[in-house]
Symmetry: C2
Subunit: 148 residues, 2 copies
Amino acid sequence: VSATAVDRLLRIGEVAERSGVTPRTIRYYEEIGLLASGPTREKGKHRLYDEADVERVRELTRLRDLLGVTLDELKQLVAAEDARAVLRRRFHETESQSERLRLVDEALPHVDAQLELVRKRIAELRKLERELEGRRTQLQKRRRELRG
Amino acid sequence: VSATAVDRLLRIGEVAERSGVTPRTIRYYEEIGLLASGPTREKGKHRLYDEADVERVRELTRLRDLLGVTLDELKQLVAAEDARAVLRRRFHETESQSERLRLVDEALPHVDAQLELVRKRIAELRKLERELEGRRTQLQKRRRELRG
DNA sequence: TTGCTCCTCACGTCACGTGAGGTGGC
DNA sequence: TTGCTCCTCACGTCACGTGAGGTGGC
């Protein structure tokens, strides 16, 4: 992993397009605290983002769509991503082994919480899949009977 | 399958409770045409339902939650269930083989449309599951390194 | 007859969509 | 300097939630 590419700064329209949402969604997520607002932006001036923000928006909408959670629930869930971000930034800054261990230990339960939700959803969808396959089989059987 | 149990008539509160929604949701679904309104209900009188309606509401909310579709999209999707209902009612009423065959042939593509959506969702969720498992493994590896 | 559930407005909320009128920066 | 994109209100919409005031039926 190299850190050679200095991130080009992006405007809201480009972030929106690359993450599959509208600028309005990005502003709304900032408003409710799902996305950090650039700390020193003068009122009326353009918002500026980087690659990490594009990734963040993609993660958020992906979890929102696939897990069907409210934005409030999403806020809790992405504490995992927040912890990961802290991990990445702080991990190399700190010398302390125990501090590093603490950061890792904090991130794990958040990932586990997401995994549990994902697996529950998969199980529900697989059940629905089996039922639909059953209906399909029934219909095809009837069709054969009617033709034969 | 016996048809011995004559369906007891249910009021909106019982239908709501048994299908896991509120009465408001049921009235709203009637309003937008997702649920049939009892054809001859005098204004101000109570709505009456049966077991089939409970099943219908369960199917609707299940597809809504698991597939994340709008109620407009849901209306298109459950053309499958509508076709199935027609099938059940009409199948035994009609003598015509070709009419029966037509009903079966109509139901199949609707079931297939639902199956396709369900499988697409499962694939997306499985991909997310794999990514989360990867993160988990990484975190556990780091933890072992910090401890060792 | 008394409760309990139902009825119909109608306004509130969440997660944005969609202009209106104005300013910023390559 | 001219476009294009951005800015901030602010009202609209979808899918209901939540009372307010009144009637129905065991």
